[in-house]
């Protein structure tokens, strides 16, 4: 059953959605910039890049993002989940300010505030659109498949 209000584990899944994508992109970026220029004439070097530590961690994080994203979409509306993915931009900006000591312009701080307020707006509302009784009680495809005789 889907819940209009989220459970703590569901907030955790949304947190993973927000954190894994930007961290994964950062790891990929860091890994790729450390490698020498890769030519499309030598695609094997691109495959070898996958096994370098930063890129391997980046790929693992992006797989984690996609799994969390699919899980979130199975119990929440698309228009509820998407702002959570955008919140990842805020996490990256704050990390870059306080961890990497980068300067953030006033314009970017304004962007951070707007995204935070926007995510707050959605998070206080219901996560799933209420459906008529017939649609809510309809069996999911996975359950129907499991009940079929083998």
């Amino acid at each position: 059953m889907a819940h209009a209000r989220l459970l703590p584990r569901q907030y955790m899944i949304l947190g993973l959605v927000a954190v894994c994508a930007p961290l994964g992109d950062t790891c990929l970026s860091r890994g790729m910039t450390r490698l020498p220029a890769i030519s499309l004439l030598h695609p094997a070097t691109l495959i070898a890049a996958v096994f370098t530590p930063w890129i391997a961690v980046g790929i693992a994080l992006l797989i984690g993002f996609f799994a969390s994203y699919l899980t979130a979409l199975s119990w929440a509306d698309l228009t509820f989940v998407l702002p959570a993915t955008a919140f990842g931009n805020v996490i990256v900006a704050v990390l870059s300010r306080f961890w990497l000591h980068e300067q953030i312009s006033l314009e970017r701080w304004a962007g951070i505030v707007l995204i935070t307020v926007g995510v707050g707006f959605v998070a206080h509302g219901p996560s799933l659109t209420e459906r008529p009784e017939t649609a809510v009680t309809a069996q999911p495809a996975a359950e129907i498949a499991e009940e079929q005789p083998r």
Binding site: D77, T79, G111, G118, T129, E130, A141
Partner: protein, 135 residues
């Protein structure tokens, strides 16, 4: 090779077409993926009942999921193509923020989601926020 500039008339329309392709493919992919996951059901419950393999099987036996992933892949290649011709500072904020709004519209029309004033406000705030952050 001539790099089209958004300032010239041809460049402007070429840039608009590239960004529109990213937004269109991305929105179609997100909506199809969301529809697929709704048809599969709550993955947490499927995993509790049938284990991780059961949850993976439930997702991988849904044709809508592959259609969604196909469009998301098209969006990715459209992004790569656009980045080959346009600046990242134009493509990234424009496509990311426009996709949020088109997803809200598509969610209301195709997924019949209840996009109330709260969600519209959030979509617009996040859209402007992403633009400011990435610009």
């Amino acid at each position: 090779m001539t790099i089209p500039s958004p300032a010239s008339p041809t460049g402007f329309w070429a840039a608009t077409a590239m960004i529109a392709a990213i937004v269109l493919c991305s929105t179609t992919g997100e909506v199809l993926t969301a529809a697929a996951m709704k048809s599969v059901g709550d993955l947490d419950e499927i995993r509790a009942r049938s284990g991780l393999k059961g949850a993976i099987r439930a997702v991988l036996t849904c044709p809508l999921f592959f259609a969604g992933v196909g469009f998301l892949a098209l969006a990715f290649f459209s992004l790569l193509f656009a980045l080959n011709h346009l600046n990242l500072s134009l493509v990234a904020p424009a496509s990311a923020s426009l996709t949020l709004v088109t997803n809200a519209i598509a969610g209301k029309i195709f997924l019949k989601e209840n996009v109330d004033s709260r969600r519209w406000t959030a979509a617009v705030l996040v859209c402007i926020g992403v633009y400011l952050l990435a610009h």
